[in-house]
Amino acid sequence: MSEQRALSRRRLLASVAALPILAATADGRSISGHLPWSPFAGEPPKPVSPLGWYFFTPGEIAAVEAIVNRLIPADSLSPGGKDCGCAVYIDRQLAGDFGQAQRLYNKGPFMPGLATQGYQGDLTPAGRYRLGLRALNDYTMATYKRGFAQLAPAQQDAVLAGMDGGKIALKLKPGFSTKEFFEMMLQNTMEGFFADPLYGGNRNMASWKMIGFPGARYDYRDHIDKHNVPYPRPPVSIYSAEG
C-alpha cells in the first residue's frame, strides 16, 4: 500500500515537473507582424452524393423514409420528408463524424445526467439509431405483425405519438429512453429539411422556398431600404456560384 502511494507520488511529481514543458510547447505559437495566410486555402464542406446508402440497411431505409414522411408529410406547403432527402441526410450524417460522435467525449464513467445535458451513455448516434430502429421493428412486428413502413399512416402516427408521449416503451438501453430516440429522429429530420442542400436534404431548397428564406446570401444592401417589399431573388446554396 505504502509502496503504491510512493509510486503515485513519484509519478505525480514527475508529471508536475513535465507540465511547464508541455504547457510551453502547447502555447509556443505566437503570431506577430503577419497574419498567417496561404494561397488556395479553404476547407469547404464536401457535397454529399445523392445516390446510394452509406449507413442504413434496406429494412432501416424503409422505416426511416416512412418516419420522415410522417414527421414532414407532403402537403400544399412542401413535399414530404422523404422527397426532400431527409433520410439521405440522416444516412450521411450517421456514416460520418456525427454518427461516430467524433467531437464528443464518449468514454466512461457513464453517469445519469440531467435532461438538459443530453444523452450520457456509451452509444454513438449511429449505435442509437441501429438499436432504436431494431427495437421499433420488434415493437411493430409484435403489435401489428408488420414493419413500421408497412403500417397505415394513421397507425404510423399512433406509434410515433406513443413514442413521443411516453405511451410506448421500446426495448432500448438504460439511459436511452424511447422519447429520447423519438426526439433525436425529429431533430435530425428537421436538420435534413432545413440544412443546405449540399448535405443531402432540403432538395430543390423546398423548405427555404416554403418559408421565404433566400439561403446562403450574405449581402442585402441593395434591398435594405425597400420596406415591405418581399426579397425577389430565389434561395441559393453554399455551392451556388450564381444567384
Partner: protein, 393 residues
Amino acid sequence: MKRIFLAIAFAAVSTAASAADVGAGRYQSVLGDCEGCHGKNLAGGVELMTPFGKLVAPNITQDKDTGIGNYTAEDFRRAMKEGIAPGGKRLYPAMPYPAYARMSDADIAALWAYFRTIKPVRHVVDVNQLRFPFNLRFMMRGWNMLFFRPAPYVPDASKSAAWNRGAYIATGPAHCGTCHTSKSFFGADTGLALSGALLQGWFAPDLTGDRDAGLGGWSARDVVEYLKTGRNGHSIASGPMAEVVEHSTANMKGADLQAVAVYLKDLPPSAGNGGGASGVEAQMKSGAGIYRMNCAACHSFNGRGDSVLFPPLAGNALVRQAGAQTLVRVVLAGSKAVATPAAPTGPGMPSFAWKLNDEQVANVLTYIRNNWGNRAPAVSADEVAKIRARHGS
C-alpha cells in the same frame, strides 16, 4: 599623449564618415529592394522562375566562401553596373544590372560600405538551375552585346529636380522596369517602358498615364500613399508588389516617394489595354450573377468596394490591365494584402478555386472588367484553366 589624442580624433572622424556611408548605403539597399530576391539576411535562396528555367538568388553576405566577402569595391561596382563578377563570370539579368548601370558610383560605393557590415552567413546556393543552353553563362556575353546598353543616368535639364530624382530611382536602383516593362523573347526590355508585363505568372500593371490600365486616374498623392502604405483609395498591393512595398517602398523617404510619383505621373500614356470586350452578353449576364453571389459583399454591388479595406473594382486600373493573369490568380488562390506600419491590417481575400469553375471565373472577370465604366478584353475559360493548372488548386 598628443599622438593618442590625434589617433582617437582620427578614428572618430573616420568612423563617423563610414557610418554616414553605411547609413546611405543601407538606404540604397532599401531603394534597390535587395532583400526582395536575396532574402531577409541577404544569404540568398529566393527562387526566381524565369521563362528560361529557375534561378536562385545567391548569397551576398560577407561570407568569404559562399558569399561575396572576397569582393573588392571595384568588383562590386562591376557586378552591379556591368553584370560581371570577379573572374569574368557573367551574371544573368534577373540580377537587374541593366537598371543598376544607371546608378551613380557614389551610391554603389555607399551600398558596398553597407554590405561590408553585413554579417557573414555561410549558405551555399545552387544559383544556376536554368535549362540548357541558358545555363551556359558565357552566352550572356552575346546577350550583353545585343541588348545591354549601360549608361549612367543623365539628368533631363528640361525637367524638375524632383522629376529627375524620381526617374533616377524608378529606372535605376528601384528597377521598376524589371517587372513592369515587357520582355522580348530574349528577356530584354521591349516596347514602351513601364507599360505592364507578365512575369512569373503575375501581370505587373501598366504604370504609364493611360486612363484605362495605367495611372491616369491616380493623383501623385495616390501614388505616394500606395507606395508608403501599400494601399490607397484605388488599390491594395498584393502578390509580388506586396513584398516590394514591405521591404522597399514603405521605407523610402517621403521626398523620394514624391519624386517617383512626379516621374510616373509624367509618363506618356501607353497604347492602352486592347479595348473593351464585345459580343460577350452571355458572359456578362452570368458574371453579374456570380458577382452578386461571391464578390458583392466586400466589393459592393456598385463596384466601389469599401474605403481602403476592400479595393474598388470600378475604375481600378489593376482590373483593366491588358493581361488578366493577376486577376485570375487572385480569384483562384485568394490574396493577402501587404501590412505596413502605416496600414497594419493587411486584409485578405479568400480562395474561390473550390467554388467557381474555369468558365465561371472567366465570366465574372469579364463582367468586372467591362462594368461600371471599366473597359478591358474578355477573359476565356481556357486562360483560367491554364493558370489553375499551373498554380495548383
